[in-house]
Symmetry: C2
């Protein structure tokens, strides 16, 4: 194993995302020591017991005190507060990155909290995860072969960007760069809107009086379609509000298309439905299947 | 193995649904001989080669001539024509059933085509299948432990109903009975609407100019969410028009809920979103997970 790329890594939020990164980086020998931080001691003690982290603090400022690299994996709604807590405690030259699913809001939070040293902040988003959460769901292979999008801004420091890229590559990910706004549009369309639709549909059915019977007849297709509705509600209400602008854009586009389909069903326009369904199947089979 | 429950079974439409039933019934020794019928000789020859059926005809009337039991597994839009073709050729006392995903339209088709002998028609719907199609996708375990809903009408013959029930039980399914209208409402909510949403969303994205890039960043959640958009478009345009009434009802209900979520995002109302998402996650984890 080559010598570690950094000495101490601090991971704020040791759940599926932060925990899996810690495991992968330890396996890769990327850093010598990993300090975890979170609000619940029980979860952090479990993380130590599982060998995911070496030590922990429930105070973000203490956790980052000696760190060369800080990875913040908390819900988007908690980013600003965490940044503000760690800003005065960061070591000179320490690089900070995050795993937030929307980037515009995180960049705004970082610029506000880090002020003059925001250049050492590298916004990032691993396109990975599943509907599980907590450190017990973490595993070292989560990022293997998955894409990580970094969204450096005009002021992002090149050395910091290189370190964060190296970190993700050590975890097995394919790293790409994208503009903040473009990231948020792409993710609104492929992730945030689908989550909203899945949550919305399940809730719509759950409020029916015959819900028990209705769910009884839901088969495999429904199970797959609604898997993402088992995701963490706190994380997702944060994503939907943090990325509201791009999400609303995607939602409005979808609503227009839904009205078109609604009209086709109302008019029993089988040709029109066939056209839409065929185009969708062809696209999915080509790009996703 | 006990003696066969029926001598000759005819399967009209030897694809995933019809082919899997034939395989399961042969394995169970439910019938002595299985005759297939379809429009494409190549598919039927493959079905014979795979041992799914013993013989075939591309003419529905010839295929059912000696059959005691006929299972029709064609798209809903083809049901009426098949019923009309087989009606004059059915053996006295032959029982006919189907596997259509909507039942109101099939019952109307059967009553029109079979007239006085519609009592020997047993409408049914196996809640099974996947996004694949064709006899090469058929397998004998498809119905094991899955629900099959039979929707007998006031005139359905008790012996015919018992035979079709025995057929599905021989294939390993759990058979239940339900009123036609109720079936169509439950399936509109749990299957037809989700398919429409998945087709609609994929098509919505596929028509964007940056679709290649957009799909590139679609991760596992999107793959699961849109799996059903790889289903057979012909089958699904038939389902959505055949069950239009119940589908529109489910769609209108969902649209109202979507407007509510849209407003919550617009107002950055995190509390409201958290409430919806939490209720959805709880319902899915309880009923589906």
């Amino acid at each position: 194993m080559s010598s570690p790329r950094c000495d101490t890594l601090a991971v704020i939020g040791v759940g599926l995302i932060g925990g899996s990164l810690a495991i992968a980086l330890r396996q890769a020998g990327f850093c010598r020591r990993i300090v975890g931080c979170g609000r619940q001691s029980a979860n952090l003690e479990q993380a130590v017991a599982l060998g995911v982290i070496d030590a922990y603090s429930t105070d973000p400022a203490s956790a980052v005190a000696g760190a060369d690299l800080v990875f913040v994996a908390v819900p988007l709604g908690a980013m600003r507060a965490v940044f503000e807590q760690i800003a005065p405690a960061l070591k000179l030259g320490a690089v900070v990155s995050d795993g937030g699913s929307a980037k515009g809001s995180v960049v705004r939070d970082a610029e506000a909290a880090f002020a003059g040293s925001a250049r050492r902040f590298v916004p990032g988003h691993p396109i990975a995860g599943n509907e599980k959460s907590g450190v017990s769901a973490a595993f070292g292979e989560l990022y293997r072969g998955r894409r990580v999008i970094l969204t450096p801004t005009a002021q992002t420091d090149a050395d910091g960007l290189a370190l964060v890229r190296a970190m993700w590559e050590a975890a097995g990910a394919e790293v790409e760069e994208m503009a903040v706004e473009h990231h948020d549009q792409v993710l609104a369309a492929t992730s945030h809107l689908p989550h909203m639709l899945a949550f919305g549909l399940v809730d719509s059915l759950a409020r029916l009086s015959d819900r028990v019977e209705i769910f009884r007849y839901a088969a495999g297709g429904f199970r797959d379609f609604t898997r993402i509705a088992s995701s963490d509600p706190v994380m997702w209400k944060d994503i939907c509000t943090a990325n509201a602008e791009a999400l609303l854009e995607a939602l409005k586009r979808f609503e227009v298309d839904m009205q078109d389909m609604h009209a086709a069903v109302e008019q029993r326009d089988a040709e029109r439905l066939l056209e839409i369904f065929s185009r969708a199947k062809a696209a999915r089979d080509e790009f996703i299947g």
